[in-house]
Subunit: 219 residues, 2 copies
């Protein structure tokens, strides 16, 4: 239906728009996809002609309802494949993204719906990101970053904001994974770094920035 490049651009626009509320700039898409801005302009024209995005020269783009639906279905495919790779094939969470990037472009609604059923309709992927259902609906939940917790409070990790491989490997080293109990022991008043206790066993110091990436529910 759509080329891999078209799909990548739609997904990039969706993801950038999630954070910034304004129209998505050519440069930001180029940075996201690691391509030249001129290439993005070309693709933008194409997507605009197909009415998948709304585009005014020099003013950035926003997704049309159809474009948005396509992007969400891509995210659905990506995250379901991630669950498959992690849960069924045993890939660690830091390596599922790369493979899912390729698998998500395999075009078949029937395949993805059967995969979802096989996986028992998971609501979150291995990084704790919500998986849209067949209608594009995300299952949201209340969550805090551990940085918001006070000394003495305990959280259970339900997601990570940062998906960088090295960040995830760093968490592995600290025995932090989804489901881990994290108790805040002490907060440094100078730089907001936290002393935390993982699973009641491993003590570690994490920076404010790291803490902000760790999404938890109250234990």
């Amino acid at each position: 239906m759509y080329t891999t490049s078209e799909e990548d651009h739609l997904k990039a626009i969706f993801k950038i728009a999630e954070k910034e509320k304004k129209a998505v700039s050519t440069n930001s898409i180029a940075a996201f996809l690691n391509t030249a801005p001129a290439s993005v302009t070309d693709m933008i024209k194409k997507l605009s002609e197909k009415e998948l995005i709304l585009y005014q020269k020099y003013k950035g783009v926003t997704l049309s309802p159809i474009g948005s639906k396509i992007a969400i279905q891509l995210i659905r495919k990506h995250r379901l494949w991630e669950v498959f790779l992690a849960e069924k094939l045993g890939f660690p969470w830091e390596s599922v993204h790369e493979l899912a990037e390729k698998l998500e472009h395999v075009d078949s609604d029937e395949l993805i719906n059967k995969l979802e059923e096989f996986l028992n309709f998971p609501k979150y992927d291995p990084h704790g990101d919500p998986i849209p259902n067949v209608d594009g609906k995300f299952t949201l939940r209340t969550q805090w970053s551990i940085a918001e917790f006070l000394p003495g409070q305990t959280g259970v990790l339900i997601g990570v904001k940062e998906h960088d491989k090295n960040f995830l490997l760093y968490l592995n080293d600290m025995q932090i994974k989804l489901g881990s109990q994290i108790k805040v022991l002490h907060k440094n008043n100078y730089d907001q770094s936290l002393r935390v206790l993982i699973e009641g066993r491993f003590e570690n110091l994490i920076t404010k920035n790291v803490a902000q990436q760790l999404l938890v529910k109250k234990a």
Copy 2:
């Protein structure tokens, strides 16, 4: 590593060479892949420069050892995905091929090796075709076509030569699937058509041509 088109050409050459023993002609590849002969010539040049095939103008091509290895790994990927689709996701045997054609081009040895493990190292795909192991070795077995059987003899279906969707749907209608017991009741001396009994329950007349596509072991 290699483009989808390169891979498709290598696989086509391998499959055609399996049947005919001589060098593979441009036209036969074009017919196999549903492309123009001129397109095949272009791709042949490219593959020849990469030393994946041996090519002499107007004389057809043969796979080099490297080209052969790539083709076999593709067949491995294709058939493992077919097993996954049929056994884990519940796709019928007549529809797995199409999806596997797309999945086989996802490039990751680690993925395919973990998939193989997850599937418990299957030796045959949903059509009974052997799956090469990680070293490219096929597990062969003694097999007959049911057309070779005499009245009174019984076979168990272990494979089909013909993979056409309509042929497989026709077998579905007759309750014939891998593992089915097929007893030859009578052979027509004029056209070699067979009267067969499926699973001791369903009687059917099959043409000589159909019988030749049904690969069985002795019951």
